[in-house]
């Protein structure tokens, strides 16, 4: 491309990664601006945060459009924005496959879960799962899977923050202390947001971030398309040409196979986990409680699907754009590696200002997603374990929120420590793992308890614990953990399970265990509560109402 060669001519001695360091103060400035604005919003939003419904569910006062935007803000994590753009830039078509799974998955949430969940639950996923089964054991199981999924997802975001920071602040890839400090800053900011703002503050942070992210990606997409005469073929041919020039995959970039050509089963397993995982992610499910009615929950999903879908189409253009204008070699050489594709592209097409904007948005993304996960985990601990198990449903009204707030601090500290330890781990793998665990441990029980009359407590417990254990055990013995130089423990080799993602085994197994546990259960559940749950789920009778202030 003319532009990239012109740029190289301007700065012949410096790589793109080097050049971006010179202007990292712009990134910091724009990020501080974002933090400042969102802090004001969070403080304003925190005025009515007294009851549990206010703190966990934002008083159920958000509209479908607002909540849908927040869902998009929650869902389009750094892994999907930076990760998918980078994956397309490097692996071409195979990077695009990710985004399709992430999007189609929303239909499961729209058709089978969102409205029914809003009508039957109160604050957490466990509310729905334990509705007509034995409260204590099912709540403990659901809270356990919630905490595990949130933990892995949180770890992925915090681990990603380290790598991202190297690029955005111009820190060296090896400067682990500097990265650790930034991870701690992200963690502390997140604690402040969630502690003060609760769900309302968290939601506003996600809404602001989603708008900035979609606008930023749209601007970049339009610039990239304009540079290629608004012709997708010209753009893809340019990416192929760059790839040929540096001796890469060339035309094969446009065809499937670059990443998963040798491991098709791995890809199928991942595809299964992606499509079934979304509707079982606790932090996504909890967002449906922030709207006043099931109809608004439906609207939320519709908004989310459009925003997320359009955004993924942008990433297709951005990925090939980065491939064409920057090239695989330079991306991988930059600090942050694959994740650097989108920020580098911003720099090439829009200079330091656009880079600063996109970098600040990427930072904000981590902050917003981490905040959403933290409030979900804290709500699950305080509402499911503390209120319903430890004090058995008789806590003093203020106590539950107090416990939730303390949990936020604990989770924040754990996330900081975990993020520093996991710094440098593969983000996409940790996120895919969270999806696989959610799809195995949660989805079968959600579907069975909403749609299968005979489902029993034993079935729920077998399915949740079985799915959770299967997913974690298979991951432990997968090639991701040991057996290759790229693995988490490079020296060891106990990798008898051949796939990187456990979904293809653990998801069907969890569905099977739910069925088996139910048919082997000698006891039955109270048909009156089953009737109540079904009537409530479809009609909305007795559903939690919005809080009036």
């Amino acid at each position: 491309m003319n532009l990239s060669s012109a740029l190289t001519a301007l700065a012949p001695m410096k790589s793109l990664g080097e050049q971006t360091k010179d202007t990292s103060w712009v990134n910091i400035l724009i990020f501080i601006l974002f933090v400042g604005v969102t802090m004001v919003v969070v403080f304003r939003a925190s005025r009515n945060n007294k009851t549990a419904a206010d703190y966990y569910a934002a008083g159920r006062s958000f509209s479908g459009g607002q909540n849908g935007t927040a869902i998009a803000g929650d869902y389009l994590s750094a892994a999907s924005f930076l990760g998918i753009t980078g994956a397309i830039a490097i692996n071409g078509y195979d990077g695009f496959l990710y985004s399709i799974g992430f999007l189609v998955a929303w239909l499961v949430a729209l058709l089978l879960v969102a409205e029914l969940l809003r009508n039957t639950g109160k604050f957490t996923m466990a509310d729905v799962l334990s509705f007509r089964l034995k409260q204590r054991p099912v709540r403990i199981a659901a809270a356990t899977t919630t905490l595990v999924v949130c933990f892995f997802y949180l770890l992925a975001q915090m681990a990603g923050a380290g790598g991202l920071v190297s690029l955005l602040l111009g820190l060296d890839n090896n400067n682990k202390t500097g990265q650790g400090i930034v991870i701690a800053v992200v963690g502390v900011l997140m604690i402040v947001y969630v502690l003060i703002g609760g769900m309302k503050g968290t939601t506003w942070v996600q809404i602001i971030k989603a708008c900035l992210l979609v606008i930023g990606a749209a601007i970049m997409t339009i610039i990239v398309l304009a540079m290629n005469g608004f012709n997708l073929t010209t753009l893809m041919d340019a990416a192929v040409q760059t790839s040929i020039n540096e001796g890469g995959a060339g035309a094969a970039l446009l065809n499937p196979g670059a990443a998963y050509g040798k491991a098709p089963l791995d890809f199928i397993s991942l595809a299964l986990a992606l499509v079934l995982g979304t509707a079982a992610l606790p932090h996504v499910l909890m967002r449906f409680y922030t709207v006043p009615t099931a109809k608004e929950a439906r609207k939320s999903v519709v908004w989310a699907i459009w925003l997320i879908g359009i955004f993924y189409i942008f990433t297709l253009v951005l990925g090939y754009g980065a491939g064409a204008l920057i090239g695989k070699k330079e991306i991988l050489a930059a600090p942050g590696g694959v994740n650097a594709a989108a920020p580098l592209l911003a720099f090439v097409i829009g200079g330091p200002i656009l880079l600063g904007f996109i970098s600040a948005v990427a930072f904000a993304t981590i902050l917003a997603v981490v905040a959403g996960l933290t409030i979900t985990a804290a709500a699950s601990f305080a509402h499911d374990i503390y209120s319903n198990v430890i004090v058995k449903g008789e806590p003093k009204p203020e106590m539950e929120v107090k416990v939730a707030r303390r949990t936020v601090v604990v989770i924040g500290l754990v996330a900081i420590a975990g993020g520093i330890l996991a710094n440098g781990q593969n983000i996409a793998f940790l996120v895919a793992l969270a999806f696989a665990i959610a799809a195995s441990a949660n989805l079968p029980t959600i579907v069975y308890s909403l749609f299968w009359k005979k489902f029993t407590t034993q079935g729920a417990l077998w399915s949740m614990y079985g799915g959770l254990a299967a997913a974690i055990i298979l991951i432990t013995f997968s090639p991701v953990v040991s057996g290759s130089p790229k693995a988490m423990i490079p020296g060891a080799s106990f990798d008898w399970f051949p796939l990187a993602n456990p979904g293809i085994i653990s998801i069907p197994l969890a569905f099977f265990l739910g069925w088996l546990g139910t048919v082997l259960d000698k006891g039955t559940e109270d048909p009156r509560i089953q009737a109540e749950m079904e009537v409530r789920s479809l009609t909305g009778v007795g559903a939690e109402k919005a809080v009036e202030h």
Partner: protein
């Protein structure tokens, strides 16, 4: 605080088993399931057909249809189109077919509950 199920178990104003067995509710349930189950099976089959082709039929997916745009990209973008399409279809269906039926049952039950509460207070 407690949990919602236990709360209403003690409140016998509505016999949910009777509501569940009523023709009106069974009709709503059928209208809901007749849409969501087949559509869910349909989009999952279409998604996995695409995934299997992308995993195993590289040559087929690499056939160029228009410029450098190949079947793989077209099918991928079609997944986006069907997702948007099903979303719009479901919303229209839910607004026209599900919501009125659900609202009718909900209004009836809620007035029943309200009436029972008022009587209790008067006593």
């Amino acid at each position: 605080m407690g949990n919602p199920a236990q709360a209403s178990q003690e409140d016998p104003t509505v016999d949910f088993v009777e509501v569940q067995n009523s023709e009106e509710f069974q009709d709503l349930r059928k209208t809901h399931r007749n849409f969501v189950f087949p559509v869910a099976v349909g989009f999952l089959l279409w998604y996995f057909a695409y995934v299997l082709l992308a995993a195993y039929a590289h040559d087929f997916m690499s056939i160029k249809v228009w410029g450098s745009i190949n079947i793989g990209l077209v099918m991928g973008l079609l997944q986006f189109v069907t997702t948007f399409g099903i979303t719009t279809w479901y919303v229209t269906y839910a607004n026209n077919k599900l919501d009125p039926k659900a609202a009718k049952i909900r209004t009836r039950l809620e007035s029943q509950i309200l009436a029972a509460q008022t009587t209790k207070e008067e006593v």
